[in-house]
């Protein structure tokens, strides 16, 4: 879970909201790029990742009707409300008989106000966290030794999204220049890690799929296979 002060502030907000509205059973916030910012204490990371995986798939297919703004499920034992708020998504799982006005207050008033307040206090913290969880695809034959990532993710990192770059800028007093990302740090869930050169994905069919294409040789070194998840961040 992200320990950025911004995430901590949002975590406190979700905790307090849950106290005020006992109908809320689970809540968490993630970015439009699929990175979990924070969640309430009762919702474990595995559950959040399961929900997120389904949502990312739905978001992709929902492009047929435009950009996804909201997703609501009524189940036999509860309701789920997933709302887009600025560049983030808030998930609320509630009891079935939850007061609709409470949900409206949270999604349209409370969380947007908190985000706006945080933005005014610390604009840099509103950026997405740098580490992305990406799905591995293998690069075969003479693909070189660079990994390939979506250009959108590279742009996202370039636009000062890396907190270490922000800290570095703050410490040195230098302007946080928007240098392009040439190398990335890859870490597997098994604990293996590597730093390697990065390029944008050149295969049109594979763009926008939250994917990292890794040469087979490096996959063997990292002990990962096609379809595995890895954590990737810019190497400064």
């Amino acid at each position: 879970m992200n320990r950025d002060p911004y995430a901590i502030a949002l975590n406190s907000a979700l905790t307090e909201i849950k106290k005020a509205y006992p109908d809320i059973k689970n809540s968490f916030i993630f970015t439009k790029n699929g990175t979990i910012i924070t969640g309430d204490q009762e919702t474990d990371e595995k559950t959040m990742n399961n929900v997120l995986e389904s949502f990312e798939n739905l978001k992709e297919k929902a492009k047929a009707i435009g950009n996804l703004k909201g997703f609501h499920i009524t189940g036999k034992n509860g309701k789920l409300t997933l709302s887009k708020i600025k560049d983030m998504y808030l998930l609320l799982a509630t009891s079935k008989n939850v007061d609709k006005s409470h949900i409206y207050s949270i999604t349209h008033v409370i969380i947007p106000t908190i985000l706006k307040t945080l933005e005014s206090f610390a604009p840099t913290h509103l950026q997405s966290p740098s580490t992305k969880k990406l799905v591995v695809d293998t690069l075969r034959f003479f693909a070189g030794d660079s990994v390939q990532i979506d250009v959108e993710i590279l742009k996202d990192w370039t636009e000062n999204n890396d907190p270490r770059a922000r800290v570095k800028a703050a410490l040195t007093g230098e302007q946080n220049t928007q240098e392009s990302i040439n190398q990335v740090h890859i870490e597997t869930f098994g604990g293996n890690a590597a730093v390697c050169k990065v390029k944008e994905i050149n295969d049109q069919k594979l763009k926008g799929k939250n994917m990292i294409r890794i040469p087979e040789k490096l996959c063997k070194t990292l002990e990962i296979n096609k379809g595995d998840l890895v954590k990737v961040k810019p190497a400064l």
Binding site: S54, K69, F71, G78
Partner: protein, 118 residues
């Protein structure tokens, strides 16, 4: 002598009744179309036929996402699913072992449709 299975007859009648309702619904203002899918057959009626595949995939994905999320969050069986974009929304629900998805403009009252169909 022909022996009728009352349960099958009831289901067939229910589906016929549902399809009649859907015919009425599709002519309402703001309705883009619907996809009704059973285990053996499907009926699709969309204003723009070029979108059939994309909408069918979205409908199926919405049901899958609904099931996965309700399982993960222990919310029980799915009753209804709403997918909203800026201009369009989708109401998905299970009726008589059929998966129904109705596509509509965002200003259409989906609760009214749901009450009419259930």
């Amino acid at each position: 002598m022909l022996v009728k299975n009352p349960e099958t007859d009831e289901t067939e009648n229910d589906i016929e009744e549902l399809q009649e309702k859907l015919q009425e619904i599709k002519d309402q203002e703001g309705i883009i179309g619907y996809i009704l899918r059973g285990s053996k057959s499907a009926s699709i009626d969309l204003k723009d036929p070029t979108k059939i595949i994309d909408y069918a995939v979205l409908s199926s994905t919405a049901f899958d996402a609904g099931q996965n999320m309700t399982e993960a969050l222990q919310m029980g069986e799915v009753d209804t699913i709403i997918v909203e974009s800026e201009e369009t929304k989708l109401l998905s629900m299970n009726i008589n072992n059929h998966r129904l998805s109705i596509f509509m403009e965002k200003n259409v009252d989906h609760n009214k449709l749901y009450k009419n169909l259930k």
